[in-house]
């Protein structure tokens, strides 16, 4: 199989190619074509193919990560959208949860009021109402009103219409009927129903999720169309799949209907890339650690796969999004994070960032603020001549200048200041990891840290030491890790049904029936996507809480009929999960099954791992020896440090730090008392020594 992974970021489009039969891997990077990123995707495939003699007609699959939908939201540049909702509840999306985002601010903006996805004039109400008891109809749907509302919206020029009714997650009939009527009256409209994109209780969050889908819908649909057309006219007939926030891929048709599922496409692929790198070295418990210019993304991978965010914790640009997403914790800390002393005298690093323009002072593009990258330059950890494979020369003096100014204000030496910048940043990142591990009952000492992104390998050892993580994995291509991750996934669809069933009043018959129905729907969808029956698999979950609580935990269930005896085992598992998550279990309390969920997987071809070619000796990998500043035995000092070229490192030799390892897309820093080696499948493994 010939597979392509193409990840489009804000600056670069990364292309990864793998021939699973001939065991060949090639990578390519080109600037993102901002006004239509599909152009860059196609060019990237063509350019790589030309460079490495790949016959384009022979390409089997293309996996793609996109930020079209995400950017439409971040830039608030989406479709003119309308809504049809229940009479008496016009402003659910405007009032929200009536909570202000900031506790201590008069001048704050509330995103959903300041930038409404759907303006009030475009929210039309119709007579209908369902109730909480199995979705009983309290008021029937007035279809004449629906028709009138659709035509009004059509006249107002909306391109996209969402339908959101109370309790539609239990009984979607009214929403479905409205969708039919819209199709009759205004077939050109992009239509979203709330029960279709997110059939879960909590109306503000569900309607907003539908609103986001409607807002970005026409744009994403258009993009996917362009891309498919473009591939066709370039004679590329490969199957196209697009990455979703849940860590799986979906067909272009599916994405065109539910683009809200792509909002974390890129970061999700990053976690998958990290998981893949871990698997190359048979590591199963991983903390993925992706640091770029402005932010750091943290994900957790265990034997059970990657963590999924709680439906209550997923937001984009301040709007809640209630769809399955990999649990990725993002903090404003990266190479461009600015260090400063605030009005009251506190020394802070980030979340403000110098971005890529002007970027850190050391880029020489006019940046005047001291950043994390500048601190790395001052300490000798980033090399003037070997940044981005030597493509960009760093301005060492500018870095010294800005860090020096900061040092004067602090009354510290330049080196102490630079180290301080890193210490504050690394601690912020360690705290973020702590939230996802120690605070959830997981011990970082049992994990490996997979560090990637342009700046991950620069900071990994210091962060690992802070948390006593014993080992670090640096993947072969840390700078295009998301594109790699794209080639490691499956088709993945999630379906959900709200049950509100108590452990004291279990109706197993209903649960079994509902699971069956959900699975059948999924199986059909996967077959429609041309997945062979033997490649389909299903995962079942019950989202449970103690009766009265407001947050659920996801308990995995077996793929078999639930019977009285085995269900107890899973309730016990819930108690245990609750104890791990919160440090306490309420064993006497009855449990409520809030939702049941099924995840359907359709197996996709994947990247093959490859052994490194035989390399020469260690000596040949040495670029130079220079002083780098490290804290050693409690003191900050300049230490003679060997600099290696990663591409020339021999396999399997344990090498002692301190060391700096150059490679085209990143620099890896190994402080004293740590050692590293290159593994046969290309990972760099760092053994983290005791803090000294």
């Amino acid at each position: 199989m010939k597979l392509f992974g193409v990840d489009v970021g804000g600056t670069f489009t990364d292309v990864f190619f793998n021939d699973t039969e001939k065991h060949k891997t090639f990578i390519h990077k080109l600037p993102t074509t901002l006004e239509d990123p599909s152009v860059g995707v196609i060019n990237g495939i063509l350019e790589l193919s030309k460079l490495h003699n790949v016959v384009i007609e022979e390409i089997n699959h293309i996996f793609h990560g996109t930020t079209i939908g995400t950017n439409a939201i971040l830039e608030f540049d989406g479709a003119h959208t309308g809504m049809i909702t229940t009479e008496g509840y016009k402003d659910i999306m405007h009032i929200g949860r009536h909570q202000r985002p900031e506790n201590y601010s008069i001048m704050q903006d509330i995103p959903w009021q300041n930038q409404p996805l759907i303006q009030r004039r475009n929210r039309k109400t119709v007579s209908e109402r369902m109730g909480p008891k199995k979705g009983e109809v309290i008021k029937s749907l007035n279809e004449d009103e629906v028709r009138a509302a659709v035509n009004e919206l059509k006249e107002l020029g909306v391109e996209s219409i969402i339908v959101g009714f109370l309790f539609s997650y239990i009984n979607p009939e009214h929403e479905q009927r409205v969708v039919e009527i819209i199709k009759e009256e205004y077939p050109e409209a992009f239509i979203t129903s709330s029960s279709d994109v997110s059939p879960q209780f909590r109306e503000f969050e569900r309607f907003t999720t539908a609103g986001l889908n409607g807002f970005i819908g026409p744009k994403v649909k258009n993009y996917v169309g362009n891309l498919s057309e473009g591939l066709k006219s370039a004679n590329i007939s490969a199957d196209l799949h697009i990455m979703c926030s849940n860590g799986g891929v979906a067909t272009p048709e599916n994405i065109a209907a539910k683009p809200v599922n792509t909002l974390l496409s890129g970061p999700a692929a990053g976690v998958l890339g990290g998981a893949y790198a871990g698997a190359l070295s048979d590591r199963k418990k991983l903390i993925t650690f992706d640091i770029g210019g402005t932010s750091a993304d943290i994900g957790i991978v265990t034997e059970d796969g990657f963590g999924e965010a709680s439906a209550r914790d997923t937001w984009i640009a301040g709007y809640p999004v209630m769809v399955p997403m990999i649990d990725i914790h993002t903090i404003g800390a990266g190479g461009g994070s600015i260090a400063y002393i605030d009005e009251g005298g506190l020394f802070k690093v980030g979340p403000k960032s110098a971005g890529s323009v002007p970027g850190p002072a050391c880029y020489g593009h006019g940046g005047t603020f001291p950043t994390v990258s500048d601190a790395n330059v001052v300490l000798g950890r980033l090399d003037q001549e070997n940044f981005l494979g030597g493509e960009m020369k760093l301005h060492t003096e500018a870095a010294h200048q800005v860090i020096g100014e900061l040092a004067d204000k602090l009354g510290m030496t330049k080196e102490e200041t630079a180290e301080g910048v890193l210490r504050i940043l690394n601690n912020n990142m360690a705290n973020a990891i702590r939230e996802k591990t120690i605070q959830k009952g997981a011990d970082p000492r049992e994990f490996s840290l997979v560090a990637f992104g342009g700046a991950g390998p620069l900071h990994a050892v210091d962060v690992a030491r802070e948390l006593k993580i014993p080992e670090i994995v640096i993947p072969p291509y840390p700078g295009i890790n998301s594109a790699t991750g794209l080639l490691t996934t499956d088709l993945k669809y999630d379906v959900i049904k709200t049950e509100f069933m108590l452990s004291s009043e279990l109706e197993l018959g209903i649960l079994n029936e509902d699971f069956q129905a959900l699975e059948e729907g999924l199986r059909q969808q996967l077959i429609d996507d041309h997945v062979n029956d033997e490649d389909v698999s299903m995962l079942r979950f019950a989202e449970c809480r103690y009766v009265g609580q407001g947050y659920e935990l996801r308990v995995p269930l077996p793929n078999e009929e639930l019977i009285g005896q085995n269900i107890e085992k899973y309730f016990d598992l819930f108690h245990e999960m609750h104890r791990n998550e919160y440090g306490h279990a309420f064993k006497e309390s009855p449990i409520e099954i809030v939702n049941i969920r099924v995840t359907g997987l359709g197996k996709m071809p994947k990247l093959n791992k490859e052994k490194m070619n035989e390399r020469s000796t260690l000596e040949e990998a040495i670029v130079k020896t220079e002083n780098v500043t490290f804290r050693h035995k409690g003191e900050l000092r300049k230490i003679e440090t060997i600099h290696y070229q990663r591409e020339l490192l021999p396999v399997g030799i344990q090498i002692e730090g301190p060391a700096i390892i150059f490679q085209k897309d990143t620099t890896t820093v190994i402080p004293p008392d740590n050692s590293f080696s290159l593994e046969e499948f290309g990972n760099l493994i760092i053994k983290v020594g005791d803090q000294s």
């Binding site: 008496g88 509840y89 201590y104 001048m107 704050q108 605030d342």
Partner: protein
Amino acid sequence: MTLETKAKTVLDPITMQVVLGALENAAIEMGHKLARMSYSSIIRESEDFGCALVNLAGHQLCESSHSTPLQSGPIPGYVKGINTIMMERNEQYEPGDIILHNSTYHGASHGPDFGICVPVFYQEELIGFSVTTAHHLDVGASTPGSCGIVDAVDAYAEGLQFKAIKVYEQGKKNTFIWNVLRDNIRSSDMVVGDIEAQIAAARIGAERYLEIVEKYGLDIVEATAEALTDYSEKMMRNAISKLPDGEYQAEGLMDGYLDSDDPAKKDLKITVTLKVKGDELEVDLTGTSKQVDDRPINMPLEGTVNIAIYLTLRSILLDSTEYGNFPQNTGLTRPIKIIAPSGTLCNPIFPAPTIARFAPGNVVADTLMKALAEVVPKQVSAGVGNLKVLAMSGKRGKDYWVYMDIMEGSYGGRYGKDGMDSVDTLYANTRNNPIEDIESHYPLRVTRYELRNHSSAPGKWRGGIGSIREMTFLEDGSFSVEGDGHKYEPWGFAGGNDGKVGALSIRKPEEEEMSLPSKIPNTVVVKGSSLKMTGPCGGGYGNPFERAPQAVFEDFLDDYISKEQAETEYGVVITRDGKLDMQATEHLRNS
């Protein structure tokens, strides 16, 4: 009990930042876990809770950002109150103790806000406290629920008072007190579950506190606490010194009990005189109405009035939109002096009842903002509309179901921005309950929830818009309400119009809709009865004739104003077929 103060530890700014990060991380964890473990919607959905670590000297080290300020803010006061009582009783803190406290005359915000305090020991020495606070559904008052107890005649009528009670002693559960609690509180499974969640979260905080001290050293943590307090103090002093010296005064009025015959119970006044001198500020409440001896709208000084003042000052002078987030601690309060004459609404004398102090506290905050409006007109909003809290309850077997609904207010217009519509206001920041959650768990139906049409207060930047929320009983039950803002409109500012008052009415089956005052003690209703709460609209800011015609037109399109209002209030002409007529507008505005 005193900490040996060592020679001042030299603290570098990097270590300080690192320790601060660790402390804040601990507070985030406490808040996260409390919200997720708790049972009642008032905590888990409305987020009416707080978490903080406090050192031995009583300084707050960190607070959970994920909570309402009215809960986290008072925590140092709870600790101080507990200390006082323990001292009086000659009791000692022991490892494994867990202390329950809700005494409003000893730091608590009001009776239903239970504080759970875990003393933290390091090398057998007391070093500080891990504390959670949360609003409980019922505290054993005369009628069901813990809000709308508007007819309590004294502190005893408000329910159980816990004055620094050890619910665990040296790790052992004090079963007597738990039995008393269960026997005297409605819906006690829910309440006890929530207290246990509070205990679990406070214990986690204590564990983290200890880990941080073990990792960085007690002297470093203490030095950090001191430096952070100094830092916050400096920020507040800097902000105050930007204000011109002088005296600024404002008055705020509230309904009180509009249906009472007693003039001392209604049309009550809050007077704020702000005295700015250099980098210090005095808030003098002299002139405020006398306490109402036998109705619970008096405000605990420490747990409510002080907090309302500190948080309002912080939100205006150190607005996080401009200043970012920084530690909330006693440093912020050092440059501020509060004068509240004893025996007034703002400093009642025991046993004056205080349980319904929520709405009055909002008036204190709003009046303070009004006084500041003269000084920093670009940092305030026009008048804020007050809110209501509704308790609904009924029988369920031998026990009760109790549901509390916080009805939001709205903000006034701001310099350059319209007011925030339908949000929780000022010193509180809770969340509403999803309709789908309420109806799935209580015999209630939310029959309407949307913004008021044609009600926004005109201004260059219009006032925020209140909402209408209707709730219907599907079974027989009872309700009570505490609120305010039915009589006095939120103030307009700088030429903006005054806002609109809120309202409350009831419609019983087969009866006409009947208007109600803002405070209703427990009242029995039959199935099918429906309550309609109308939220207030905040005041307008600036001359409405200066509002951009396009913005006025958009408000018309969104039904925030009518065509007639556009013309009479804003001088903006909209044609018969709904188009903006710029020419006629200019003509009208210039005439």
